[in-house]
């Protein structure tokens, strides 16, 4: 298996071992023996050998990527990963060089993406020349079940790592399917490269198949966009894209590649405009805070009695958490993380205010660092009269939404490092005690919600969302599993806010806030599969827990959008546990309480078996109705994830009525922000 494209498909010897284990534990049918033999060997020779001896049960399928079995009639074939996928992932990487011959526009663009270390590309087939070239140069490439799902996976990969990723779909319908998740990525300031083309410039304005004007459709959700129309500028516009993706505040970049560009061939790179290497077309230089601004900031922090630092996404993107924690320890200021990923300020740190919402209002100084998506006064639990400093990598957004006493243009890491070096040592015992007391109150309140939910669960033989969330919490953080290990993410309304209260982030990007700022329903599972692929590969902050299982909490409403991506997770052998809160409805059904004729629109069939559907996709399925059953299902699922890279969908049967505060108070609440439970900013 080549290193660049190592998708952690289990290697042949490992597969042999796994198959041997399964032989020990479960008897296998003749068909299973046949198919596993084909899967294990993955060679035409193996299949031919089997055909020669067994004779009737298989034949060579003839896929260029490998040999797949044909099952006999009369026996239902099992879900399996075709050997063609394994062989495809094992095939060699190409290094596009002009010295070896002419390159087309797609290959030239892929070459640039490779040199820019594009972390991954997710797609549903379409935009063929581009995605094939990107896969061929060895950029980790993944095919999903929908363009929207692929886009959410790309977003999830980036949220878990901070890396630049790409998402691609075919021009027109595939691109249109991506829009919701492009917008979600834009809201989260994800450095996402959107690629979507098939059509041609010559096909414009003449009703050509799938031809739409795509650039205007991303106008409000992108940082930069361009439809390339001059073939020899393909390298130049690649530069434009990566300058935008890798500098300032991250965002979405959208490039269209019509056929005239992707298929034009160039034997001489001198024919390309601006054909030079990346150290000549962009810079890694970052803005340092001015001496005067830095001194003002230090003076303000030193004079404050109850300062708090909001460590936004920029602290994560610039990997500035260690100097930030050092500065906080030295000067005893409170810290709280924000952004579409959590954990760059660990929840278990003594100065973390992520659960100290009642203390936030008494902070007398708020320092926003790398807060890319600014709340308005009142959206964060800070006193509007508290002084405010904002540190931001570009000046344009300073003063936006939140009135400032000091605005500083600086790279986040540069600012934080100076803080760590220059702030004097100080103790703030009363502030620390206030934070701790508020945190304890939050925990006590959460436990009270759990106690109430447990009673409701016992009364109804279903699982209340607080019980579901608490059981997951206890399993992941209070048992035998390293509490820093498991990456989680959550979506949904009724269940999401319960999950958000109980999920923890004790290391950078341990928790993904799928709904962040945009509130999209449904990308949750796909997004977390993308994050899981980052964990599988140990990219960036996920390195320590490379290969660990991940867990996604979503709703029965949400799973409808991305359930088929379970196939993608299994295909790439990423161990995902998906907990589906099944309350038979859209969580907002109480909105129809006063309009009876509208109620039917909010409800689903009851007791749907998402677990059975997952089994049909090759995953494990679990159906639970009590806390005890959920506990055992989590244990089994995690073990299967660790030992077999298995995916599991746990169908948590609940009730619609738990969304009603009148019937089952207190009903779900939005989490206070910033901190645990935050998703709006």
């Amino acid at each position: 298996m080549n290193e660049e494209n190592s998708i952690q498909q289990v290697s042949a010897p490992e597969r042999d071992e796994q198959q041997d284990d399964s032989v020990l534990s479960t008897p296998r049918t003749r068909r299973q023996v046949l198919t596993s033999a084909l899967g294990i060997t993955g060679t035409a020779a193996g299949a031919a050998s089997l055909l020669g001896s067994g004779g009737v049960l298989a034949q060579v399928a003839g896929l260029p990527g490998g040999v797949n079995a044909i099952d006999p009639l009369g026996e239902v074939p099992s879900v399996r990963i075709p050997v063609a996928i394994t062989n495809s992932l094992d095939s060699p990487v190409k290094d596009y060089k002009f010295e070896d011959g002419a390159l087309d526009g797609a290959q030239i663009f892929a070459k640039l993406c490779k040199e820019e270390q594009l972390a991954a590309m997710f797609c549903a087939p379409g935009n063929y020349t581009i995605i094939n070239a990107i896969a061929e140069v060895g950029i980790p490439s993944f095919g999903g079940r929908t363009e929207g799902g692929a886009c959410a996976m790309a977003d999830g990969f980036s949220r878990a790592t901070g890396e630049v990723v790409a998402a691609s779909g075919t021009e027109g319908p595939g691109f249109a399917h991506m829009i919701m998740n492009i917008a979600a990525a834009a809201a989260a300031r994800t450095p996402l490269l959107v690629l979507a083309s098939n059509a041609s410039i010559s096909g414009e304005d003449n009703e050509a198949l799938q031809n739409i004007y795509q650039q205007p459709m991303t106008e409000s959700v992108r940082k930069y966009g361009k439809r390339l129309i001059v073939p020899n500028r393909v390298w130049e516009y690649g530069q434009y894209a990566f300058r935008q993706l890798k500098s300032g505040v991250p965002g979405v970049v959208h490039l269209d590649f019509p056929g005239e560009v992707t298929r034009e061939r160039f034997a001489d790179p001198g024919k390309l405009t601006c054909y030079y290497e990346k150290d000549k077309y962009r810079s890694e230089s970052r803005c340092e805070p001015s001496a005067a601004d830095m001194q003002k900031a230090i003076d303000m922090i030193s004079k404050a009695e109850r300062p708090i630092v909001v460590a936004g996404q920029g602290v994560f993107q610039r990997q500035a958490w260690e100097p930030l924690l050092a500065a906080a320890e030295r000067h005893e200021f409170a810290i709280v993380g924000s952004g579409p990923m959590r954990g760059h300020v660990p929840d278990d740190h003594r100065l973390n205010a992520s659960m100290s919402h009642d203390a936030m209002f008494s902070a007398d100084l708020v320092v926003f660092i790398g807060q890319y998506c600014m709340p308005k006064l009142g959206e964060y639990r800070f006193n509007p009269d508290a002084k405010a400093i904002r540190v931001h990598p570009v000046p344009e957004d300073l003063g936006h939404n939140w009135p400032l006493d000091l605005g500083i243009v600086s790279d986040e890491r540069a600012f934080v490092e100076q803080l760590a070096n220059r702030l004097p040592s100080r103790k703030r015992a009363s502030w620390v005690a206030e934070l701790a007391a508020a945190k304890q109150k939050y925990i006590d309140t959460s436990l009270e919600y759990y106690r109430i939910g447990l009673q409701y669960s016992q009364d109804t033989n279903t699982i209340h969302p607080q019980v579901m969330a608490k059981e997951i919490h206890d399993f992941l953080y209070e048992g035998d599993i390293d509490p820093k290990q498991t990456l989680t993410g959550w979506g949904g309304a009724t269940c999401g806010h319960a999950a958000a209260r109980w999920l923890r982030a004790n290391r950078p990007a341990q928790e993904i806030v799928c709904q962040y700022q945009f509130g999209a329903m449904g990308p949750d599972l796909a997004m977390i599969i993308g994050s899981a692929l980052a964990v599988q590969r140990g990219v960036g902050p996920q390195a320590t827990y490379k290969g660990a299982p991940v867990l996604c909490v979503t709703s029965d409403a949400g799973i409808g959008y991305s359930m088929f991506e379970l196939d993608t997770a299994i295909k790439y052998k990423v161990p995902v546990i998906c907990v589906v809160f099944n309350n038979n409805c859209w969580g907002m059904w109480p909105a129809a309480e006063n309009t009876p004729r509208a109620m039917h629109m909010y409800l689903f069939q009851e007791n749907l078996r998402y677990d059975k559907m997952a089994e049909g996709l090759g995953a494990r399925g679990e159906y639970v109705r009590t806390a005890e059953e959920l506990r055992e299902a989590l244990r089994r699922s995690y073990r299967a994830a660790e030992t077999e890279n298995a995916c599991t969908l746990i169908n948590v049967q609940s009730l619609a009525e738990f969304s009603s505060s009148r019937l089952y108070p207190p009903a779900p609440t939005f989490g206070a922000e910033p901190g645990v439970g935050a998703c709006l900013h």
């Binding site: 006193n383 109480p590 969304s659 505060s661 009148r662 108070p665 207190p666 939005f670 206070a672 709006l680």
Partner: protein, 149 residues
Amino acid sequence: MSAKRRFAIGLGSVVALAGWSVAGSADDAVLPLDRALTAEEARALKNPLPMQSDSISKGRTFYMQYACGTCHGDDGRALVVFAGPVTDLTNPEVWVNGTSEGEVFRSIRDGVSGMPAFGKEIEAERIWHLVNFIRSLWPADALAANDNR
């Protein structure tokens, strides 16, 4: 009822609500505080805190502190309805769960329809300040008409 007595009742409610286990009442009748108030019980409640500028100001602060504006909007008009239809706090004519002081208190403490119950997160005294602030958002004639019922 005297202002002093109303305040005493309010304090009783604060103590009771904190534990969600004992009772307090506007009329010395026992109000069950381990469950949601009925509409009748809510209507019988009176705000122990006079609707004066100090209380309204505190209520505005709590409105921000508890991020009520996330659903109801900064100005209470609930023009953004991502969490489902949300009550326009500035127009009592459209309210469906009661507009008396006690009913507003009940809506915040015990929740209504899709609105969560905040009784475990916000102390009763602060809820009464919120009641005063929210009613201050009403048109003057609506407030007068409501209080004269």
